[in-house]
Subunit: 302 residues, 2 copies
């Protein structure tokens, strides 16, 4: 699981920094999360293959999180993409995109699907054999979701020496990897623990932007490997959190601590601060493993 | 009169080049012409003050000419702009912008006016004491206008030595500068030519993108100081002009020649060509004074 930060600031594009956008690589999926203006160029700069992106997740309809989407959709089409593309985002996103395609008398060269969100409860919005994606309802000025990306638990690992030692037939390997005991031809039962090691623990990533401090999501994100939590302000501007529905770096760290996350990633910095290391310092007073989102940074989760 | 190129390529943003956008400085106006994705960042990089832009002219509703507009409008608002902004563009532009503002539950901090265009004839769309702007109907796949920016002829220059010599009262200066003869107290008529020199010739700039070769606009742009004409293709791909409604570099040069323009600026290059100097070379076989639009280039008109 690897995260690439395409943009990390709030509000407006800056001369050399993009607004929010991230790419999560998880089990061979390349998920694009939010898509501020300039995202398609950031994808090029980070050498992320357009065709591998099949799902885009938009948290909410503030410009710094989606103004780059129409350009991305349009560019994919100009490049004659054939692979389908799924857009998951708040109700309204389809109208915004289709209106612009209609007025430019164009449509996409590829199947484009919209999955509009309006529930205020967590929803499973993507699932395949290895990965699930759920919405995380957040508290912002407009309808907003975070997203929780989870690997499914993998198979147990066969201890081949033991398996060969007991002369177990290949036909049983699959069920043993799923946790079943083995029964030999003479009826002897070999317990699963003798034949397998536990699977690699599944990883997970929670993306939470933008939101007011919202500890009621903790049960959903408990034990998450990576937590991205917005940190628009420092504590010195904590009074701005309520009217703007944003969080401070310290609050983000409190969320990471409550969730027992392995790693906290901060981002969505207000441009009023000159030095983003202030966010890291503030968060580290509460939570140890803090990483700053910065354009082009790749973050691994071990 | 000075032109700043913010973006010069067609179709999609590139890693280091923007799609079409230009800033024309003419008689203290800063006019923004087209607004592809990334324009607001290009304005920052070129240190053009946001507040001086009061009029934006959008040629047509293909993404490479307007996808940056919503971000620009939104950023102006986040910066708490108070100065009014006028958007001149094809019918539909208002719906695109207002839908996105509505869905983000925001409106602008400044008066925002839309002037939607749908006429197929040239129209005067802006006029003040010193400058006019007209549409130039073009021939593209969707409804498209070029724009003709013209300085109004200035006043004639008083030859002060002569004026003082004839002891002409200050009260008459204004009418003399406007071309009137002077009448002395004894009734003697002093012809205007004796008292004035011709005004500085007014400058003009025609922006023509995107369009199929369209010589019927020549009477409108005759004698233009600067002609920007799209050159999507080289002659080797001339067969693509009809289906895509674009022009070649040679055709752009033919337009400049027919219009007796002082200077031709080429742009909107297809990304299929590695070297944009090929466009210049091709145009120079027809017209002498050719300049290539390149991101960040400033072009003066003498």
């Amino acid at each position: 699981m690897q995260l690439t930060i395409l943009g990390c600031y709030s509000a407006t594009p800056r001369t050399f920094n993009n607004p929010t956008s991230q790419v999560l690589e998880i089990n061979n999926h390349i998920f694009l999360i939010d898509c501020g203006e300039g995202t398609q160029v950031a994808l090029r700069r980070n050498k992320i293959k357009f065709n591998r992106i099949k799902h885009v997740f938009i948290s909410h309809l503030h410009g710094d999180h989606f103004f780059g989407l129409i350009g991305l959709i349009s560019t994919f089409s100009l490049l004659n993409r054939k692979t389908e593309l799924h857009i998951h985002g708040p109700k309204g996103i389809k109208e915004i995109i289709t209106l612009q395609l209609k007025l430019s008398k164009s449509w996409t060269s590829y199947p484009l699907y919209f999955h509009e969100l309006e529930s205020k409860e967590p929803q499973l919005i993507f699932e395949d054999e290895k990965v699930t994606v759920e919405t995380i309802p957040l508290n912002h000025r407009v309808y907003t979701n975070g997203f929780l990306f989870k690997e499914k638990p993998g198979d147990r690992k066969l201890l081949m020496n033991e398996v060969l030692n007991y002369e177990i037939d290949v036909a049983y390997y699959r069920s043993i990897k799923k946790g079943k005991d083995a029964i030999l031809e003479d009826g002897t039962v070999i317990s699963n623990e003798k034949l397998t090691a536990p699977p690699i623990p599944p990883k997970s990533y929670a993306f939470c932007s933008d939101t007011f401090f919202k500890p009621d999501i903790i049960p959903q994100i408990k034990g998450v490997t990576g937590l991205y939590h917005e940190a628009t302000f420092l504590e010195t501007h904590q009074h701005l959190c309520e009217p703007t529905k944003h969080s401070t770096a310290k609050q983000a760290a409190e969320m990471a601590k409550l969730a027992e996350a392995s790693k906290l990633i901060l981002g969505h910095y207000s441009t009023r601060y000159g030095d983003i290391n202030l966010f890291k310092a503030e968060a580290e007073t509460v939570f140890e493993n803090v990483v700053l989102a910065e354009d082009g940074k790749k973050i691994n989760f071990n």
